[in-house]
């Protein structure tokens, strides 16, 4: 059984090869020591395309597009929307998940942690 952890809804981590993979289609998303978002496709949306204005005026139920944008991150293999982030225009994309691979490998090797049949980490009994 591959040494793979299901780390996010649409993201697997192959511990041996140190690669991110799409959980839906298996597409190789990139180096697991780097930001997984670098291996995804990015699309910027006006928030009103998801949150439509319901009334006229300045405050409409829709976020103001000059203040905030929606960034959508797609798997290049299957198009799954792996992640979204609401950011002001030009704001750096967040490196939200930076797993310490060396620690993880050490704990797996020592038996402190194990990967169960569902790809989930658990503390060894």
């Amino acid at each position: 059984m591959p040494n793979t952890i299901h780390v996010a809804e649409y993201l697997d981590l192959d511990v041996d090869s140190e690669r991110w993979h799409c959980h839906s289609c298996g597409h190789d998303v990139g180096d697991a020591r780097d930001n997984y978002k670098k291996g995804l496709l990015i699309y910027e949306r006006d928030p009103s395309e998801v949150h439509p204005p319901l009334i006229d005026g300045e405050f409409t139920f829709a976020p103001n597009p000059e203040w905030i944008r929606i960034l959508e991150f797609y798997c290049p293999g299957c198009g799954r929307q792996v992640e979204t982030e609401y950011l002001p225009p030009g704001h750096p994309i967040t490196h939200d998940t930076e797993i310490d691979l060396d620690s993880l490998k050490r704990k797996l090797a020592s038996g402190q942690l194990r990967i169960n049949e569902h790809g989930k980490l658990e503390v060894a009994k």
């Binding site: 496709l41 976020p63 198009g79 799954r80 939200d96």
Partner: protein, 684 residues
Amino acid sequence: MSYPSLEEKLAALKVSEPSDYERSCLDAVSPGDYEIGVQRTADILDEGYEVFMRSSRSQMGVAGDSIVAMFNAQGDLVNASAGTYLHAVIPPIVIKYILKNFRENPGIADGDIWYTNDALYGGIHNPDQVAIMPVFFEGELVAWTAALSHTTETGACEPGGMPVSAKSRFDEGMNLPPMKIGHDHVLRHDVIEMFAAFGLRSETSVTVDLRARCTTADRVRVRLLEMFAREGKDFVTGLFRRMLIEAEQGARKRLASWPDGVYRCATFSDSAGTEHGLMRNCFMTMTKKDDTLHIDFTGTSPENGSSYNAHPQAVIGHLANYIYEYVFHDLPISSATFQPIDFEFPPNSMLSPAPNAATSCAVMAATGAMSSIANCVGRARFATTEWRQVTASLGNGGNASVLAGVSQWGMPFADMLAYTINTEGQGARSHSDGINAYGFPWCAFGRAPDVENMENELPMLVPFSQHWPDSGGAGKHRGGVGTAQLWVTHHVPYVIFMSIADNSIVQTPQPLFGGYTMCTCPGLSMEGVDIPELLRAGDEGTLDLASLLAGKYGGEIVSETYARTARPVMSDQVITLGISTGGAGYGDPLDRDPQAVEKDVTDGLISEWSATNVYAVRFDERTGRVDQESTSAFRREVLAERKARGKTWDEFHEGWSRRKPPEEVLNLYGSWPDAAVVNPLMRM
């Protein structure tokens, strides 16, 4: 002055070293007796919590926005009953401050009643007030008890205790450092008069809630004394210390299974009090290593000249809301569960402001921290067998409205309308939708009042209460929807209205794993429509949010920010449309079961527009039911469109990294984009 420094506050959150006597008492607690003892403490606290709600007068107190707690002699929190987890870990700061500074003068004695509401000394914000009593057994200090709750009047520059126009702490009314307000088990009458004077706008609520806190702290004290007398001092002392040890072990065990690493979240808001401007209201860097967490807020926007600042322990209290609800839900509410967690606050940020800062709207300033912790913990935890506990952020809007004036019963009042805040949507869960109108993210066990109760207590008419369509973030699992209520002045010539929020231009919570967050919340009222007359006429139709927004009953919608300064609203006029935000969404909306989308439309939880444009569901025009084949084809088209329009990281950054929000909206942000302090803030 000797108010505690940040370092002293953070140190006070840590469990004290056990004395030799405490260590010797551990052997007095055998297995079996330990479990019974733990349950006994919970029973005492639950009784106290019930007493508290039944004794309180303000809407928040009656709703259960409170906590009742017991501590060991050194001031470590041993267990609590909530209510709100907001106060779960921070009261030790106050007790340890009293022990350090007031042991000699004025002294700590049996029958003392201590009190504080000053965030500078360890609270959340000054509407949140705590009564604390030492417990003396056979002449020796053996424990402490406390009762904390939110009261909606402090004598500030605006009614309701959370003035949006306050510029410094000197605009916020009563701020009491820890002080003795009663002795020999008697509350001082001159102190009650002081509370009545500060609470002049709502004397009954303020003084009754004051007594409720004291009554509750004393009830727990009495029950603890019974326990000491029955079980012996050695047993209870040993029990308390073992509870701390086991709680810490439980917390560390839970954290140990998460993968070590660094998890980050950036959130934003749109206002500080009455001033609009983009703020990075939290930049959280959560480092998980072995069985510890380190949470760093560096990168959060600078403090501002409004009341939307929070002292650091108030921020930690806000994290406890999420942590006890989702992470340590099966552990005692205890100082020890936070023992493995360390914090770092950048000076002069909105989450660590100067001592003279206004912080009465700390709950607004901390919405980013509340949202970020859900996001960071969710990312760390999904890889483990605890993945079912992962959720997108709760609504965390806290859209709070205050009414004040003279009620239909001739009583002065100032109160927060508990319905809206207690009916926010839950964040979507990793295995199912968030609960609709789940409750108050600040108070998991808070209860929305009945409409009849609201109309009886306050001079208002509430023609409708409803789920609010599309208010929950979209996703494979949808965020729970919030609610809308229409409020009309009734029975009195006028009321004073104000409201508090920071989500009319941008929403703070980030969604999780490909979902969307919720829409923004405008501050809505209506002109030119006589609602009571409409009701009297009894014409056919449905009076609801959609019909009002569509102009079906005439009048004109007035749209502002949800946060509004105090203003009069005359009899039979619309006060506002109270709306509570939904929860954030989880997962790709294209993965949502089309049948669930159809049901959401049928149930009025999402619009047909969202079903088509966000969830990519096609309906059979003849039957109105989902067309599965057409939906599958449509979704394949959307997936292909995404792959065609998406840009690579480098392509995207060619344009993105050169952009910036308009300069005029960065007035509160700090330096761009890292949100560092640019200019010193001057307060009068």
